[in-house]
């Protein structure tokens, strides 16, 4: 049984490469459409047919179980034929270039390609070479638009709104595409955004992004409604960004004590995967204030909404 669709939202651009370039009404349109899919996904009969006959290719140059699975499920629930290509597959290991892979896939006439790549700008480069629609599932340190959308949906469902909320994003901002997309989206919707990190993990020029900047967790979490933690990759120790995970956790890791600096009803988020004991401790990650599991559920709904909104403007739609 198909839930009657109330939203007629259409995404009027061929690609979704980032939050940059989306208007606040487009963002809200996607969130509202995603709400419908949350309800649908909780039914037994989840299958829709809006993408029936369409081909979706997941092209993941960087390993990711969660995002890839999320897109695969989203595509299949909308009735699409989904194909997964990931970095383990042979031609990528043979050193075929990004452009050649794009041209090859394009020749197979897919409708939508979802791409994740370790280099900033790579998804845009690929999008210029194909005729179909491209969704950015994360490019280097640049953008991860569907993550920011699912984070916004999660926040809105739990707090009722986004504007005038104080959101503290904590961790490796320098290397984080999740941080960048979230900063752009939350600012567009009127939230008050704060970033908390050691100076070595802040990009030069971060003040110009319209955020408050602090190197102190107590100050950073004060009056925060949402505390968003970012993963610290272990390679950062090698690059002389931070001296050790122990020191990092002591000053910047989220535990019950630091969480108490925020509002009593503050909620905790994390894009995953978590490094327990490095940026967040288990008690908080699994605790009552954690929205981490809900984020994953919202992820499928948001990706269905993006695919649905895009499908409405595909050729021969």
């Amino acid at each position: 049984m198909n839930i009657a669709q109330k939203s007629t939202f259409v995404l009027n651009q061929r690609h979704l490469l980032g939050i940059e370039g989306l208007s606040s009404s487009e963002i809200l349109g996607l969130l509202d459409l995603a709400e419908e899919f949350v309800a649908l996904n909780r039914q037994i009969e989840k299958k829709q047919s809006s993408l029936r006959g369409r081909t979706l290719i997941n092209l993941f140059f960087e390993v990711s179980t969660r995002t890839q699975a999320s897109f695969e499920l989203a595509g299949k629930r909308l009735g699409a034929d989904v194909m997964n290509m990931s970095v383990g597959s042979s031609s990528m290991r043979k050193g075929e270039t990004l452009i050649d892979t794009a041209i090859t896939l394009n020749a197979m006439r897919p409708d939508i390609i979802v791409v994740r790549h370790h280099a900033s700008g790579a998804v845009e480069l690929l999008a210029r070479k194909v005729d179909c629609s491209v969704i950015n599932a994360g490019d280097g340190s640049h953008e991860h638009p569907t993550q920011a959308l699912l984070d916004a949906l999660t926040i809105r469902r739990n707090k009722g709104r986004i504007e005038r909320l104080t959101v503290a994003i904590c961790g490796d901002i320098l290397h984080s595409r999740v941080a960048r997309s979230n900063i752009i989206l939350l600012n567009a919707l009127g939230a008050r955004v704060r970033v908390v990190a050691p100076s070595t993990l802040l990009p030069v020029g971060i003040e110009r992004f319209g955020v408050e900047v602090t190197r102190d967790m107590r100050e950073g979490l004060r009056d925060a409604d949402i505390v968003m933690m970012l993963r610290l990759q272990r390679e950062r120790m090698n690059g002389s960004f931070v001296p050790s995970t122990q020191e990092y956790f002591h000053y910047f890791g989220l535990d019950q004590k630091k969480l108490a600096y925020a509002k009593p009803d503050a909620l905790v988020m994390h894009p995953g995967p978590m490094n327990r004991g490095v940026e967040i401790d288990t008690a908080v990650a699994d605790g009552a204030q954690s929205l981490i599991r809900e984020q994953v559920e919202m992820g499928v709904a948001v990706r269905m909404a993006v695919l649905e909104a895009m499908s409405r403007t595909l050729p021969n739609a």
Partner: protein
């Protein structure tokens, strides 16, 4: 396209000779490969029989350009550029002397390889080629190359190519030794550790693009170190490519102190800034990277005042495969032999720079610094001359460029002014029709 050598009279032009600050209306007579006379109204009576008379009304007649930094692919990278193709590009851009980099394969650290380059140039090039030699063996940065023998073989200067010598002791010894041979060291100033994985100028724009940045300090710190070494060793030194206001301050202090220091800036850093990278355009990925607009304007002002002595093209041909990659993975570099002058004219048209200063920085100053005979229209000098149309508008089509690689930052740019004739040793080697 090398014509038979007849005397040439370039008539009715605006004669610009930066070596004497000469800017007059008149005629220039070239014969037997040298400049005979420059004055008003030489007229038909004053010329030898068989002289080709070329009307240069409305055009500028200037010395051929001396490009102090160009990578030419021979030996080892002929798929990117050969001496022949580079010379075609040079001629089309008004460059009559190419000073080429030694980071070839093999590196130019042996007199036999200097000899190879000079012979290949003699046989295949339509413009003059002056090779620079490696400052250290293999460009490995740890042992001095045979500066004496290389100079005797014809190396015009010594450089570490597109990198810096990071060992200060090696640099000190090299400066000291080179002084004995009156050899010039041309040094690229970039601390590789601070550069790290940086791929464009550090700042807000890089942060938005999610790209690692290179702070200007990488350049300033290396230049500062070198200035101390130059003071210590009382040697001559030329900074290969400066890009930022901070480094210009260091240069200014060094010159005020009386150190024998000169410097180049690339045409790219004078006419472009970090914003031109736009949506990850790899043709704008350069090393050192394009900087902020404030740095660009400081660089132009430094050129106008003479603090920066030389403008070079930093010609660096990179093939399509190297550029058609995500920005962080793409090769750095842009071609420039053919477009250096035209791009420079933008600064003249926008009144940021007088024409005389631009031409001087591209001809007489590099010739003086390197001890070359060109860059001047004095009587008896080599007949390396160009004729420039300052005003004609055109759109750059990369397919028309003569370089083997087409990685130009001026792709489809609207330009104003171009070289219409290039004469080397008294023969026309390029003519725009």
């Amino acid at each position: 396209m090398v014509t038979e050598r007849r005397p040439i009279l370039l008539a009715n032009g605006r004669i610009l000779d930066p070596s004497r600050d000469l800017d007059i209306h008149g005629d220039l007579l070239l014969a037997d490969g040298v400049i005979r006379e420059a004055k008003r109204g030489i007229g038909a009576a004053g010329v030898p029989e068989g002289t080709e008379v070329i009307d240069c009304k409305g055009k500028v007649v200037a010395p051929g350009l001396v490009d102090m930094r160009a990578f030419v692919g021979e030996p080892g990278a002929e798929y990117r550029e050969t001496i022949a193709s580079a010379s075609q590009a040079a001629a089309a851009g008004g460059v009559t002397t190419i000073v080429c980099q030694p980071d070839t394969s093999p590196v130019i650290d042996d007199p036999a390889i200097v000899d190879f380059v000079l012979r290949r140039a003699r046989d295949t090039s339509i413009v003059h080629v002056q090779p620079m030699a490696a400052l250290t063996k293999g460009l490995r940065g740890d042992e001095m190359a045979e500066i004496g023998l290389l100079k005797a073989a014809g190396a015009i200067a010594f450089t570490q190519g597109a990198k810096s010598v990071t060992n200060a002791q090696v640099m000190r010894r090299a400066l000291t030794y080179a002084r004995d041979f009156d050899a010039l060291i041309v040094h690229h100033t970039e601390d590789p550790d601070i550069v790290g994985e940086g791929v464009m100028n550090e700042g807000e724009f890089a942060a938005r693009l999610g790209l690692m940045g290179v702070p200007t300090a990488a350049e300033t710190i290396m230049l500062e170190r070198d200035m101390r070494l130059v003071a210590l060793t009382e040697s001559r030194y030329h900074a290969a490519s400066l890009t930022c206001a901070e480094a210009l301050e260091v240069l200014r202090r060094a010159k005020e102190q009386g150190l024998q220091v000169t410097a180049s800036a690339s045409i790219n850093h004078l006419t472009l800034n970090e914003i031109d990278v736009g949506p990850y355009r790899t043709f704008l990925k350069l090393s050192p990277p394009l900087r902020a607009e404030d740095d660009r304007t400081a660089l132009v002002a430094a050129l106008a005042s003479g603090l920066i002595d030389v403008v070079m093209s930093d010609h660096n041909p990179q093939d399509v495969e190297g550029k058609r990659l995500p920005f962080a993975e793409a090769s750095a570099g842009a071609i420039g032999l053919e477009t250096m002058l035209t791009a420079g004219l933008r600064l003249v048209h926008s009144a940021e720079l007088p024409l005389m200063t631009l031409i001087k920085a591209m001809s007489s100053r590099p010739a003086e610094i390197l001890g070359l005979a060109g860059g001047t229209l004095r009587q008896g000098s080599p007949a390396d001359v160009i004729v420039i149309d300052l005003d004609s508008p055109w759109v750059l089509d990369p397919a028309e460029l003569k370089s083997k690689c087409k990685n130009t930052p001026f792709d489809e740019a609207r330009l104003q002014g171009r070289v219409v004739r290039t004469i080397v040793a008294g023969r026309t080697v390029y003519e725009y029709v």
